[in-house]
């Protein structure tokens, strides 16, 4: 049993490594094939367009300015800044999405009237509203990172609202009638039945939202010209791409890692919170 668990953990770790290793092999293989054949489609491959994986990894230890700290240090700094925006946006969006779902679930008229606008809000490109929000709120004295958090919340609240609404409506008629037979109030039915029943749905949404809030934070920083985060780093390294392509790729790796960490945290929370029959886990 002990040994079985041990080798199970090892196997899990091994499967975790499969994808990165495959990606590296694919990257280097593609680079080698295109470079040796000289193919120019869809783009010319060289050390600028596709640097070697090891030079990207090396970039982490190189200073961005002469005598400055290594890249990894400034990237982690930027990641923490962006993570704060993402988490704040995630929480704000989660609360708004949940509240909206509860409202829509209880007022049928609102569901019909409001839902199209909720859906419509997501088709407005965030790149278009980001400068408006940041500059508009900035003129009211709101700090830049808070405005970015609001942009992250913009992307986050939608999946939470839609999934929670489905979850709140998921209990079947008997389950609701059981509560009514105890003379339960709507409030009591909400907290004792509808919310617990919707937890698997909510966590499905939170997993989407975790990554969406990271994207929202990074994208929100760029048009708002906020320098301290990963979005700022991307804009910056983009300008020097022809000189230092590895810096941008290294930044991309940090962005992906950040999304993964956030996603992982939500998965852990899900395991701690959701206790449902196997067939009811969405």
């Amino acid at each position: 049993m002990q040994g079985g668990n041990g080798s199970g953990t090892l196997r899990k770790l091994a499967t975790l490594l499969v994808v990165p290793v495959a990606l590296i092999v694919l990257w280097e293989g593609y680079k080698w094939l295109w470079q040796t054949t000289g193919w120019g489609w869809p783009f010319v491959v060289n050390d600028t367009t596709m640097p070697h994986v090891y030079s990207i990894l090396q970039a982490f230890s190189q200073p961005t300015t002469t005598g400055g700290p290594p890249l990894i240090q400034s990237l982690l700094h930027a990641a923490w800044f962006t993570m704060k925006e993402a988490i704040a946006g995630f929480l704000l969006g989660g609360v708004i999405g949940f509240g909206l779902a509860v409202l829509l679930a209880h007022v049928r008229l609102l569901e019909r009237g409001l839902l199209p606008f909720v859906v419509g809000s997501q088709t407005v490109p965030i790149l278009a509203i980001a400068p408006m929000v940041v500059i508009g709120l900035g003129s009211k004295g709101v700090q830049g990172w808070k405005s970015v958090a609001i942009l992250a919340a913009w992307l986050t609240f939608f999946p939470v609202a839609i999934n929670t609404l489905r979850g709140l409506k998921s209990p079947d008629r008997r389950a609701v009638e059981l509560m009514q037979s105890y003379a339960a109030s709507q409030w009591s039915i909400l907290w004792r039945l509808r919310v617990p029943a919707s937890l698997p749905y909510i966590f499905t949404a939170l997993k989407i939202s975790a990554t969406a809030s990271v994207i929202g934070a990074i994208i929100g920083e760029t048009p708002a010209s906020i320098q301290d985060g990963l979005g700022g780093a991307i804009v910056n390294f983009n300008q020097y791409y022809s000189l230092q392509p590895t810096f941008l790729w290294a930044t991309n790796i940090i962005c992906a890692a950040m999304g993964l960490v956030f996603f992982g945290l939500v998965v852990i929370a899900e395991h701690l919170v959701v206790r449902r029959a196997p067939e009811n886990v969405v």
Binding site: Q180, Y182, A183
Partner: protein, 271 residues
Amino acid sequence: MSVDAGSKAVSIRGVSKTFRTGTTALVDIDLEVEPGEFVSLIGPSGCGKSTVLRIVGDLVQPSAGSVLVNGKPAHRARLDHDYGIVFQDAVLYDWRTVAKNVSLPLEMLGWSRARRKARVEEMLELVELRGFESSRPWQLSGGMQQRVSIARALSFDPSLLLMDEPFGALDEMTRERLNLELLQIWEKAGSTVIFVTHSIPEAVFLSTRVVVMSSRPGRIADVIPVDLPRPRGVATREDTRFFELVTAVREALAAGRVEAPPRSLATGEVY
């Protein structure tokens, strides 16, 4: 009609129900249930048995007629927690443990934690599920789940128990064992039971009276008193009187079908 409705456990008078979809589920139902009675409703599927139960439980409103439970309007009785209900599928909340499912109605009644714990143990003892307190519902067999749901319905001592085909999804052997258990519980608790089933032997074995319903639209075709001696047990099912009553119910069901042919035949309509 000078019967005192106030002394009845359940008094259904002139109840009809037409759903918004246009389906007429019940027409002019009259039924009086004495305190401590065990009344079964039997009839073809779709004849409105569940609807009767849900109207008594104030979970759906009748289109006409009135329902009194313990002499009170059904709505008042529901607010007073006068009845417990058991459905065909146990309807356990799978995010709660067995113990927490049984204590759900007690939470709603505002019982203290200590009092709830004591009562839950007592109830699980009653349905022979001690040791399963912290199990999850999906880890139990269908029969065990249904016993949890019965424990939950009995936990707050309701004077009336509404049971909608509680054993319909179980195998024959489990069903007969639970029938015996239910009788013992009922005799001990002294509550009134309205029990929906489509098994004729089950209805006869359990009941003081069997109410035979016919369909399209749902109405009461016959009421058959069951004069089998109590306590009933394994031997009851071999009693000749048991077979006579089973036959009587079967014939009443058949007669119900003849008396109320589908409307298309009665009026000569062709679909």
